[in-house]
Symmetry: C2
Subunit: 240 residues, 2 copies
């Protein structure tokens, strides 16, 4: 489960992709922040600031902490030995990380933007969950949501076309960022992250974006600022 293996190329494997450059290790500067948690958890959390591009924790390292996102966007990713990458999810305000991992983190957590997090020592976190049923319920519900999101993505990756994947992604991101009726998204992640999330390449993502634009389903104001011109049409394309 370690991240940086030597490359052991197999005879007929796809050619290797250079692994993305390892992000700088987070300095974990302590900043003052109101926790805003409704349970016992707020007593054991420490506010932490993380700069854009920093790695908060590495896949394979021991799960010493659980994190809650207060502000900013992060990516949850994992590498194959030869550098192929998958981004399991993007985390935003209110999302938790690390409480489903047992011994070690299965994924890395990296900041896409400057972020404000709250860090909970794992042992105490577990202790609170045991002692406070309220908190336990809340974490259980949260884990359910994450599990359901993972299953959505499974359907998307296993059976949808590139255009359907992107439509699904854009709708989901728009909802998360602005609520149900919203028609605008400021995507915090570059194309390569979208590609690695959707099981595509940057080029394909780029091509599909222009295709959706030509079909008047979306419009761009700067490459990461997306406007949904025809949400119903997009939804239709996304399927289910």
């Amino acid at each position: 489960m370690a991240t940086a293996y030597a490359v052991q190329q197999h005879s007929d494997l796809p050619r290797m992709r250079p692994a993305p450059p390892p992000p700088r290790k987070a300095e974990a500067g302590i900043i003052p922040l109101l926790p805003g948690i409704t349970t016992e958890l707020h007593r054991i959390g420490t506010p932490v600031a993380v700069a854009r591009g920093e790695e908060v924790c590495a896949a394979g390292s021991p799960t010493d902490y659980v994190y809650k996102v207060v502000d900013g966007t992060l990516r949850v990713s994992r590498l194959l030995p030869d550098g192929r990458r998958h981004i399991a999810s993007f985390l935003m305000k209110g999302d938790f990380f690390g409480f489903a991992d047992l011994g070690d983190y299965s994924h890395s957590l990296e900041a896409l933007t400057d972020c404000a997090l709250i860090r909970y020592p794992r042992r105490r976190f577990d202790a609170v969950l045991e002692a406070d049923p309220q908190a336990g319920q809340q974490m259980f519900r949260l884990l359910c949501q994450q599990f359901n999101a993972a299953n959505e993505l499974l359907m998307t990756l296993s059976r949808k076309t590139a255009a359907e994947r992107l439509a699904t992604f854009l709708i989901a991101m728009t909802r998360r960022q602005g609520g149900a009726g919203s028609r605008q998204v400021a995507l915090a992640m570059p194309r390569v992250d979208i590609a690695d999330h959707l099981g595509l390449t940057i080029e394909t993502v780029s091509r599909v974006v222009t295709q959706l634009r030509r079909q008047k389903l979306i419009d761009l104001r700067g490459s990461n600022d997306v406007m949904l011109l025809n949400p119903d049409g997009l939804e239709d394309l996304a399927g289910d």
Copy 2:
């Protein structure tokens, strides 16, 4: 979230695949079975027998029950409106179904073999989880496992080749069925289910099986009885 939509073909969508025939509805015959659960849960469970091919519950129907598998193998699947299918997981002895779904089931549950299940009324199930922290913890751990399995599959579907996917699948199934050192699997599911699990077609699965056989990585005794001739080689191929 309903299953049987009218087909609304989009201009340039992939051609439709005929939806798999709807399985017969389960008769849910009550049979005598020892529950074998270590918590309060055993008091509210009812043994249920389900015949091969029957649907235990349908995607989109209300989550009236949670199920535990006592014996047999089932598939957890979901359809796109045009019939494309994904199988999220296969359930075996000890696995639970339905406790992560909120209002309605997001997936269908269908028996691949004759099965023995235990059925828990959802309301009472939730009540037990609230009252019995022991049971709550157990379900939380179980959900963690399912979540981690889903993430494994995400990595597989997003970035692995057909051969790597099948190798990953065969190793996982072998471990689940016979433990770490085992070298044999009796696959309970037909090729089409493997294909829908791994995001491939039957033909590709079939071709990869023969390819792995030619490479002396596996051998078959009957099309569903697999022997791992070279587990390390397979593992290598599976990656990570």
